[in-house]
Symmetry: C2
Subunit: 461 residues, 2 copies
Amino acid sequence: MAYFDVASSAPLHPVARQALLASLDEGWADPARLYKEGRRARLLLDAAREAAAEAVGCRPDELVFTSSGTRAVHSGIAGALAGRRRTGRHLIVSAVEHSSVLHSAESHEADGGTVTRVAVDRGGAVEPAAYGRALRPDTALACLQSANHEVGTVQPVAEVAALCREAGVPLLVDAAQSLGWGPVEGEWSLLAASAHKWGGPPGVGLLVVRKGTRFAVQGPVDERESGRAAGFENIPAIVAAAASLRAVRAEAAAEAVRLRELTERIRARVPRLVPDVEVVGDPVRRLPGIVTFSCLYVDGEALLHELDREGFAVSSGSSCTSSTLTPSHVLRAMGVLSEGNVRVSLPPGTAAEEVERFLAVLPGVVAAVRDRLGAPAAPSARTAEAADGLVVDALGKRCPVPVIELAKVIGEVPVGGTVRVLADDEAARLDIPAWCQMREQEYVGEEPADTGTAYVVRRLV
Amino acid sequence: MAYFDVASSAPLHPVARQALLASLDEGWADPARLYKEGRRARLLLDAAREAAAEAVGCRPDELVFTSSGTRAVHSGIAGALAGRRRTGRHLIVSAVEHSSVLHSAESHEADGGTVTRVAVDRGGAVEPAAYGRALRPDTALACLQSANHEVGTVQPVAEVAALCREAGVPLLVDAAQSLGWGPVEGEWSLLAASAHKWGGPPGVGLLVVRKGTRFAVQGPVDERESGRAAGFENIPAIVAAAASLRAVRAEAAAEAVRLRELTERIRARVPRLVPDVEVVGDPVRRLPGIVTFSCLYVDGEALLHELDREGFAVSSGSSCTSSTLTPSHVLRAMGVLSEGNVRVSLPPGTAAEEVERFLAVLPGVVAAVRDRLGAPAAPSARTAEAADGLVVDALGKRCPVPVIELAKVIGEVPVGGTVRVLADDEAARLDIPAWCQMREQEYVGEEPADTGTAYVVRRLV
């Protein structure tokens, strides 16, 4: 089995496993207690904090361990917003943040705050100047991920941090995807991360609050972890998290070169091996191990199942693979195709042979799924019986069927003529324009319809 | 080393260790994913939920795993209060709840809610009728621990739950100390617990919300664990928690008998072996493994250090062992002596020899601490130079010095006469009345003084 979904969760690093086992015996007691077992637990906790702080590049007393990366984000955002409440209640996030950040933003809005969501380019990156323009006198906090979890695009954190600092606004960086690769550059004020992303155990997050950053802990008081992370400290897991962070960092430089070469193979070869594919994410400023592409006329869930049967674990931002039946907010913000979406995220140590096997298997898998859905094998070129003003009824049909129906009829539309696709699947809003861009047709826009929405396309070629 | 502080944290149960190791290999993936590793993780999580629900006596879909017992309490209280906000904003807690409950109550008050703290008797138990009288038409939630964490007193949960049900008020039970011994009786609505108290790993709590209980999750949205526990699931620890709960339950009946006999030895023999000791907590309705006593004229921190040197890990509710320098709120609510407080909580499997060794060592340790503090060796009986209206200046002196100073001069006070002890240590407020009760003197009351407080005592014998 080739596990290519390390951006979701990494298997436990051998060093983490060792450290966990050792500290299960040594670190189970309450570190607040005065007796031997308590003092021993405290020593382990302090040592883990120092190791993690060194890896982050902060002071140990600026770093607390939380119960997850999500919790670090929730607490960090809530505390920073409350700490600067007198300044104002404006929050800035990028449109492609992790759901924990976006849900915190929604929660802030529900509570009467305001939120600016900074757009990204088609590669998934924010533009520093655009981010800077979102800064206002009442901005309490700005958030930016170090790198995107779905497409691997690295964000210009140092540049944005400099703009924030100039404006006197603290920047919180969600470093979940990148901390295993190296410290976050720039003068950020808060940082959150998650240990199970770098091969540490689940149940451990990091929250760093730089000295001088206003911070007011929200929720009931709790004495542990400087009052910033309620609940009994999970010391064995914390020790394992710190040990594995140090271990993956030691391997990071070499692994980055290796994995970048492997993801480059996928980036370069998938579009040649599989017709009608869009590789998404920044081609240069990206994490070493993540590569993402979308396949026209493919049902993402079926694709994942077929790849699973072939022994590959990958993830997808396609609507049909999510419980909400909407495409990933990241792909939406980027304006790229979401159907048949596949994210490959390679764990350190991935063998080149596994990637080659993936590349060997993928074309057949995509073809089989397309075949089953009755997707057009090649761009339709029929022009017989040209019919302007055609309407395709794809109501009640899920992604990728509306796009397949459109592709089937485009040959019947005269060049310069339009076709309307009626659809009520959210993915159509993203995928019909993306199809137009890939097919060099014109996406005219959407119109309200009695049921669902009418997406208007003009045939150009 | 004899670890007698299992009420703080239990060492990992061998079954938990095994389960943790196995599921580190099987359960590290994201259970929301569709591929094999994800499905395997989901199966482990589901099985753990079923096992835990069976042990609690609830439906699996009523139970979520949180990152700690504290988090379960915080989320449970916040969600239940918000769910019944239309009914009102009144919260009832007992005065001896765990700090996580009391801090939630303070947070609710800071947010504009009202809180009734139900008093306890000298044994630490609430009286059901008194608890019932606290119920009001605007009561949104009532909280009661299943058993007290400091003195082991079992609370009348079933009776209180019946009164709450009659009034239509949900009862949240903090079952942290008792869940390893058995399910919580009665028709409670919510339940919180913590795995590291029963030999599970740290990082796992339980929150149970019975069907039909109004509940509105607070904080940012998160899909995991029915939306009630944000963050990536800690499946290896959850599996270990459920496995160890089942394991300790299998041993519970036999261990309860054994430990009860051992704590009974301590309850009965400490007062005979050590002069001026008050054993606290309900003598009958109590947990099997906890016994608590306080020693007059003893500095709790010094006592803990000496016991640690002799190889015993215990905890204390004395003021000088806490970061706040105030005596435990439990001892205060009970109105019992707090100085020289020792809580012994025996782990399952404790050997009788260890308890015997503790009983052999304790008298010498207490005597040594008293000696160092210059405590009166025996009740003072001097009546020469009787001086009514004596004032003892113990300002700036920490517990147990004010009580020692009082004991030193009481012999100089004529029978019927009074002495004033000036003190600014919080513990004096609790310990001077407790001393009077133990010495059969009259505690008249306190008076404001220029600095600190004057505690007035009348000599009766």
